[in-house]
């Protein structure tokens, strides 16, 4: 990050702050010559992989089978579910040609994989013994976004994990909604990311779903960042894809289905945006590409003593952590601090003559920028403890920030004001789409839905039409 960039504040100038950081911290390069497509760099890939592994671990533990389905479907399969095709048809990439041959059947590049996976479910599911069936895959999906794209948030290609399940009863499907939410919540909690768990209004549910639950993470610019969704599909898809099973009594029935998706690049964006500061990235220790950096502070006459002291520290810490020793000779300690702070390394070990002579080590924590001196002897335990503190403090800071971003609004004007101040408005609403449209036109934000994890009972009237309110909902701009 250039010196100029370091003075950019994420709340007051989010776009510049984020774009500059992406490339400087080696997360992504957005200069790829096709609009909406970016290159993920090594640090971005490292974190994506860490998140993916943890998510997949939890999915496999709960009985989801890891699979990989094709990139493409046919026009015919894609068109089966009426609402689904309505929702996606304008944004799918279409392949009609290979080399100079016209394909007999044109292919649709997946924007999501219901119409690719469910023909296989039809083949695989025969009886109640085959249920529940739970599968998942981590792949890239493709949507021809016409809104402005932003790296990690909204692109024409993005990496995600999608899970698809089939169940014998509606109650089993409801239970699966809970399991999916629990898995996603766990991953996000472990990353210290704060979000609102919302049931989307009916007009904003997934194309083809009965209802949709979404994880909306807060963002410094006030927009919300939908990082994951869970959709109860009911029997909308099983009807058209003819996914039937034989029940215990021998009769045949359609399965109940769910699909749920976890936006890996959007979670990466949330990690950067929620925890980062004016100096750059601040990564939770569990996913930081480098967890500890050792920086010797050279002092004339102590060069060798400091070097060998640092070497011993590195040997010890590298056994437990992703630990780098920065002993470059042509770079000042200040420049090194600057570099590793921008990269988001949670803990820095500083060693000068004072540390060597007193058998101590100075630890710098990236989140609060504080230093603490510890005994060399208990180094591992002290670093471990500090990592725990850093994680807790990041999570709490993010959670406090989300609380602070939510403001009550009694009128459309108050909503407008809240949004202009980069906040999320909490309002009471009658439930009619008409009022949502009016509010969006006037205040510029969308009704994102009502809390799914907490029952919030409306007390008054819809802030748009004045009729009796049916729901407490959250209004925000969104990526």
């Amino acid at each position: 990050m250039s010196v100029a960039a370091a003075t950019i504040n994420k709340f007051t100038n989010f776009s510049n702050w984020f774009d500059e950081l992406l490339f400087q911290a080696r997360i992504a390069d957005s200069r790829f010559p096709v609009k909406g497509f970016i290159v993920y760099l090594e640090n971005g890939m490292f974190i994506l992989e860490m998140i993916r592994r943890r998510l997949e671990e939890l999915l496999v533990e709960t009985g989801h089978k890891t699979m990989m389905f094709p990139l493409v479907t046919t026009d015919e399969l894609f068109g089966k579910e009426a609402e689904h095709i309505k929702g996606f048809s304008s944004e799918v990439f279409v392949i009609e040609r290979a080399g100079d041959k016209q394909l007999e059947k044109k292919l649709i590049v997946r924007p999501t994989s219901e119409t690719i996976i469910y023909p296989m479910f039809k083949l695989w599911i025969r009886s109640h013994a085959d249920l529940p069936l739970k599968v998942h895959q981590t792949v890239n999906v493709y949507r021809y976004e016409t809104k402005a794209t932003r790296p990690l948030y909204r692109a024409r290609e993005f990496p995600w994990n999608e899970a698809h399940t089939a169940h014998a009863t509606a109650a089993d499907a409801e239970q699966q909604v809970r399991e999916a939410i629990e898995i996603y919540s766990k991953v996000l909690r472990e990353l210290g990311i704060s979000y609102l768990l919302l049931k989307r209004p009916d007009f904003d549910k997934f194309a083809g779903a009965k209802y949709s639950i979404a994880f909306d993470a807060w963002n410094p610019d006030g927009k919300v960042n939908q990082v994951a969704t869970v959709h109860n599909l009911g029997r909308n898809f099983s009807k058209v894809f003819e996914i039937e099973f034989e029940q215990k009594d021998g009769s045949r029935a359609l399965v109940y289905q769910l699909c749920y998706g976890f936006g890996l690049s959007r979670v990466l964006a949330a990690l950067i945006s929620q925890h980062g500061d004016d100096r750059g990235c601040v990564f939770p220790p569990s996913v930081a590409p480098v967890q500890v950096v050792i920086v010797p502070i050279p002092f004339k006459g102590y060069e060798e003593a400091i070097a060998s002291y640092c070497k011993k520290i590195h040997e010890r810490l590298a056994r437990v952590y992703r630990c780098v020793m920065d002993d470059r000779e042509d770079v000042t300690p200040g420049e090194k601090f600057y570099h590793w702070e921008m990269l988001g390394v949670p803990v820095r070990v500083e060693v000068g003559p004072k540390e060597v002579s007193s058998n101590k080590v100075t630890l710098f924590r990236r989140d609060t920028l504080e230093r603490v001196e510890v005994d060399l002897e208990s180094l591992e335990a002290q670093v471990e403890e500090l990592m725990r503190k850093i994680f807790t403090s990041l999570r709490e800071r993010s959670s406090r920030m989300m609380e602070r971003l939510i403001v009550e609004a009694q009128t459309p004007d108050e909503v407008k004001k809240a949004l202009s101040e980069r906040k999320i408005a909490r309002i009471e609403w009658c439930g009619k789409e008409d009022c949502a449209i009016k509010l969006k036109e006037y205040a510029g934000g969308e009704i994102r839905g009502s809390r799914f994890d907490v029952a919030e009972v409306p007390q008054k009237s819809c802030i748009v039409c004045g009729e009796r309110a049916q729901e407490v909902v959250y209004v925000a701009k969104a990526y």
Copy 2:
């Protein structure tokens, strides 16, 4: 695998053997409704992931940065290198439309990523300090194959890892060829896969390369299975993509480049085909989805004793291995044996009254189908030792088979005969493409190249034209 299928021999009826096994062992399902695209199932995905992790570990250790580049390139970029476009243009999928909008610029779906990655290299490489630059990605690539497709071997979508490097000098590039070969050899060696390391004839090199090295694994049907390739690109691509750097003396020069690819699905195919037998898969312990299965042999009056004995064994082994206890009550031990043998589980633990009363355990090894009785006390050590033996025996068996498959041929007729017997012919050749074409027309096999790791000096004359031979080469049909 059905009882009928179990009598199918992989050498005499490879296609049926392989296709049946794929689905029964939960590797892949080839019934997806778009030709050339398959679904990878949980066991296939597990092994692919294990191979991927090991390969990526070695790549990262040797300084390759993990990245992810877009799926698509533009027509213009794709067309820059004349030989490259000639080689691939007839088999690329083309996207010209999104929804019902015609795209301004049509997009080419990657058949390989040179034309996607090198425009970024041009942006990233400035000076000699930026070299060598080594990057890699694990992605799916797309080729509109017109030959018959076969799951894992030849499909229109396949997963691979591709690495791309840039160097300051031709000598550095040559050195990198060695490093790439060493990495791939290591992964294949650890899987017990045998192959010929061949320098492809000039007419069969990668489109745009100076020369190509390939790993051709043997296959039970006599065809070779190219599992990996390493290409020295010289400056063919840096010239057209203008990838220049400033040398130490301040002058500018073009970089030397390599690309190399490791076909994950083809390596999975080789694992199955080289090690499998008439009972099904035989997986090396390192990648087997299940490493140990425990099967209680029920005996009246001993039910509880056997169950608790098995439970203790499971507790001990599950700490170290991917270990399954098969205590299903409605399935006979014979059926269980059959099932887990087909899945390729390397070690089976059998526990009956005899084992319980003597404090012993019977271990069954999947590769040789032999049983050995061991003391319960030393269980972990015995299983560990057996795993080592199984791996060594699989590797040696595969290696012996490859030696046996290679036969000397002095005439085109002998080549024809060898190929008809599912062998690989070793011949002397003048080096002219004309003779290669004639031989292929007559005998049906391709000249795959000369050994790269062993110097083989021709003694006589080309078996086609009778002129002085320049090379000892291997002839085979190929996937």
